[in-house]
């Protein structure tokens, strides 16, 4: 009996999983890459106002829209990297802007040194080296900051990251760097007051610095956009490859249960550090990319900016890379597009944000979105398949015990108060379930947790059920378990009206 049962359970399980979670994860990653690439191709054509790839003709583009593309790449990288810390390692960091500002300043100095000092012509090469330097610098600072910070937990950690970012911002606001090419290539530094004379000023303390990504005096937007896209792809590779690995699992384990992770031999601080430094490196690179816009100044890299990136992450979903890409793009462009509202701009932005947060946290809508994303049709099919088998198992008709077992299934779940779909398996016969209570329901429900073979069940007047009925109830529970395990029935809604009178 037990063997038959498990064989059947196995077959149900196998059929109900057209896509295993692993396959689904690979699909999710591939989809993310595909989507980003597709978006890039379309927008690149648009940016160049022509069918460069020969695939799309997007027509004319306004000046303001042109300005979105590169920053969006930078913000996506910043948000996805912050998600590594907040979503995967489970530590709230309020200092992400600090690492971006380090990348920003390093980027400006290195880029101008290469192009103006050493006369590098190739923008891709100079930008690649610039970003490496920016990432390296931010990584080093990230490591130094991480040493004290990662010894703390929770709120304390958040506050100290905030403090560190503010310190970095204040220091960079007093840093003056000039490039002197009169007598060989030299960089001149001044801190905290500007005592520099001569040369080209690169970092000018609190005021806007020399931009990067320029050819002569004009910014080469298409080239920068390609670089931004490459950075996004690099970020996706790093984050996906890291999180789906031994190291990544260890990082996630420190988030889920610190003590258990340590007891399993996972050095917690080291793994939090890996996530923290990786995020800092990527944030530094994003910061360097932002330096092409003269609107960014050292003072912009403050708490507001850190919070803004955090908002992107939270709305996109902790640990959800694709969601973060969407939320970042939408929330970056929204306030820019709301400029026509003048004074009401931030008010409307805040309202939209609240609305989006509420919506994305609503279980009904969440379930709705997931069901679309994870191929609703396949799910339905497998549930129907379950219905078929369970109906066969209950030998159809208004079999008293069979219906009773279903009844029990509903009771078993009544404790769960999260909303979701009523299993369709129970639906077709649900109005026949109005039968006298014959099986001790609680006993059954209690058993449903882990076992398939129940102890002998009795009817209300104390007579034991015959073998056949007992077997059917067991089978019903088992099928139900398979159904729950397959991830659909997990959180079923409250028992519908169809109980007994």
């Amino acid at each position: 009996m037990q063997n038959n049962a498990s064989a059947l359970q196995e077959s149900v399980r196998r059929r109900s999983r057209a896509f295993s979670p692993k396959a689904r994860h690979i699909l999710y990653k591939s989809f993310t890459f595909l989507l980003v690439t597709l978006a890039f191709v379309i927008f690149y054509d648009w940016l160049c106002e022509g069918p460069v790839s020969g695939l799309f003709a997007m027509g004319k583009i306004s000046r303001s829209v042109k300005g979105y593309f590169v920053p969006v790449c930078a913000w996506v990288v910043a948000a996805v990297s912050l998600n590594l810390v907040v979503g995967f390692s489970g530590e709230l960091s309020l200092g992400h802007a600090g690492f971006m500002s380090i990348g920003y300043s390093t980027g400006i100095v290195v880029y101008n040194l290469l192009t103006k000092g050493y006369g590098w012509e190739n923008i891709y090469l100079s930008m690649a080296v610039t970003m490496l330097a920016a990432g390296l610098m931010a990584g080093i600072i990230g490591f130094l900051v991480g040493i004290p910070v990662l010894r703390l937990r929770g709120d304390y950690l958040a506050i100290v990251t905030l403090a560190c970012a503010e310190i970095i911002k204040s220091l960079l606001q007093c840093l003056y760097v000039s490039l002197d090419t009169t007598d060989g290539v030299r960089l001149l530094f001044a801190f905290p007051k500007n005592t520099l004379t001569g040369g080209t000023a690169l970092l000018k303390g609190p005021t806007a610095s020399a931009p990067i990504g320029t050819k002569g005096t004009t910014t080469d937007l298409p080239a920068l956009y390609i670089i931004g896209f490459a950075l996004v792809i690099l970020t996706l590779f790093v984050v996906f490859n890291l999180t789906d690995s031994r190291t990544g699992r260890a990082i996630k384990s420190t988030r889920d249960n610190r003590i258990a992770a340590e007891s399993m031999g996972i050095p917690v601080t080291r793994h939090k550090m890996i996530a923290f430094v990786t995020a800092a490196v990527l944030a530094g690179m994003a910061g360097a990319l932002l330096a092409n816009k003269s609107t960014y100044q050292p003072a912009n890299f403050n708490l507001d900016m850190s919070i803004m990136v955090l908002v992107y992450v939270v709305l996109g979903g902790l640990g959800n890379v694709l969601g973060t890409i969407f939320s970042t793009t939408a929330l970056y462009i929204l306030p820019e597009e709301l400029r026509f509202m003048k004074d009401y701009r931030m008010l409307v932005y805040a309202l939209v944000l609240i609305f989006a947060m509420v919506l994305s946290n609503n279980p009904v809508i969440k379930g709705w979105v997931t069901s679309i994303v994870s191929l609703v049709k396949r799910r339905r099919k497998s549930i129907n398949l379950f219905a078929e088998e369970s109906r066969n198992a209950f030998a159809a008709g208004d079999d008293a015990q069979g219906a009773n077992a279903r009844e029990v299934l509903v009771i078993e779940d009544a404790g769960e108060n999260e909303t979701a779909v009523q299993p369709e398996a129970a639906e077709p016969d649900s109005n026949q379930a109005e039968l006298p209570e014959e099986v001790p329901a609680e006993a059954l429900a209690a058993q449903a947790g882990g076992r398939l073979t129940l102890e002998r069940l009795y009817t209300a007047d104390g007579t034991p059920l015959d073998d056949e009925t007992q077997r059917r109830i067991e089978l019903g529970l088992m099928l139900y378990e398979a159904y729950v395990d397959s991830g659909k029935g997990k959180k079923k809604g409250k028992k519908k009206g169809g109980g007994k009178a």
């Binding site: 295993s20 690995s245 990544g248 249960n257 340590e262």
Partner: protein
């Protein structure tokens, strides 16, 4: 089934012999150094002595039990052995090494694995991932290998996967490998904790109330599995348990703790007949 029962009988009939002085170990472990020795182990929380003068010796392949009423200090002993707490007195010698000043991670690497009384799984991760965390220090590759997806990454990942399923099959849980650990039924969570602990390749496995919340049938199954684990992995097991059928059925040496002090040590039979124990522990148990 019958084979298991035979093994069962064999365990409870192990002849326990005196080890150097006060302690006892199974006869077969007499000629090898014990896996664990604690000497006058004690810890104080503020004014409270949670554990005091705790002495225990466990043989290389012994299944030992640690029993006592709630609040007796059993879990605290586990926390001291795994270095969650640093003892304020006495010493722990594990596998011939003094554990003084070691970290939790070091204790795990030396070969102490544990489960928790209040289940501590990685709830957001799948069953298989939970076991793979246990394999972290067993099947290794570097972060750079992972980032670049070098061949070694795929080889080791596959090895981890196979090993994880192998370990899950101890409890017949291979079919649940992709289920989120947090959504498992209670009993399965307890079993997963044992599998995860075993994955770390321990020499000593500490089980904190493994049968809590299980029904008699499950408990019996668990008892058989514990004996099987000891035989297959050839490790020592120390378990805390309130279910006397399990303790008496599988444990060779038993230590009884009350108010942080050892009140009796001996074989199952000796413990069962010890009037002090009956008064402190079993008597209460019978009422409940």
């Amino acid at each position: 089934m019958t084979e298991r029962q035979e093994k069962q009988t064999r365990h409870s009939d192990t002849r326990m012999v005196p080890y150097p002085s006060k302690a006892i170990v199974p006869e077969r472990d007499l000629n090898v150094a014990p896996i664990l020795e604690t000497h006058h182990l004690g810890i104080q929380f503020g004014g409270l002595k949670a554990v005091d003068d705790f002495n225990l010796i466990i043989g290389r392949s012994e299944i030992a039990g640690l029993i006592g009423p709630n609040g007796a200090g059993k879990t605290t002993v586990f926390n001291m052995l795994t270095k969650v707490y640093e003892p304020t007195e006495g010493s722990v010698i594990f596998d011939g090494k003094d554990m003084m000043g070691k970290s939790i991670v070091q204790a795990s690497k030396l070969g102490i694995a544990r489960t928790f009384q209040n289940i501590r799984l990685f709830n957001q991760m799948t069953v298989e991932e939970n076991v793979r965390i246990g394999l972290h220090n067993q099947i290794k590759y570097t972060t750079a290998t992972a980032l670049l997806r070098l061949p070694n990454f795929w080889i080791k990942e596959h090895r981890q996967h196979k090993r994880a399923l192998e370990l899950l099959s101890i409890f017949g849980m291979e079919g649940m490998a992709d289920v989120r650990a947090g959504s498992l039924p209670y009993g399965a969570q307890r079993r997963l904790e044992i599998v995860r602990a075993l994955a770390t390749g321990p020499k000593l496995l500490l089980l904190d109330e493994p049968a809590a919340g299980m029904n008699p049938h499950e408990t019996e199954e668990l008892m058989n599995t514990i004996a099987r684990i000891r035989d297959e992995f050839n490790i020592a097991i120390l378990l805390i348990e309130h279910d006397m059928s399990l303790v008496m059925g599988v444990c060779e040496g038993i230590c009884v703790l009350n108010f942080g002090k050892v009140i009796a040590k001996g074989t199952a039979r000796e413990i069962q007949n010890n009037p002090v124990v009956i008064e402190a522990y079993l008597g209460k148990q019978k009422e409940g």
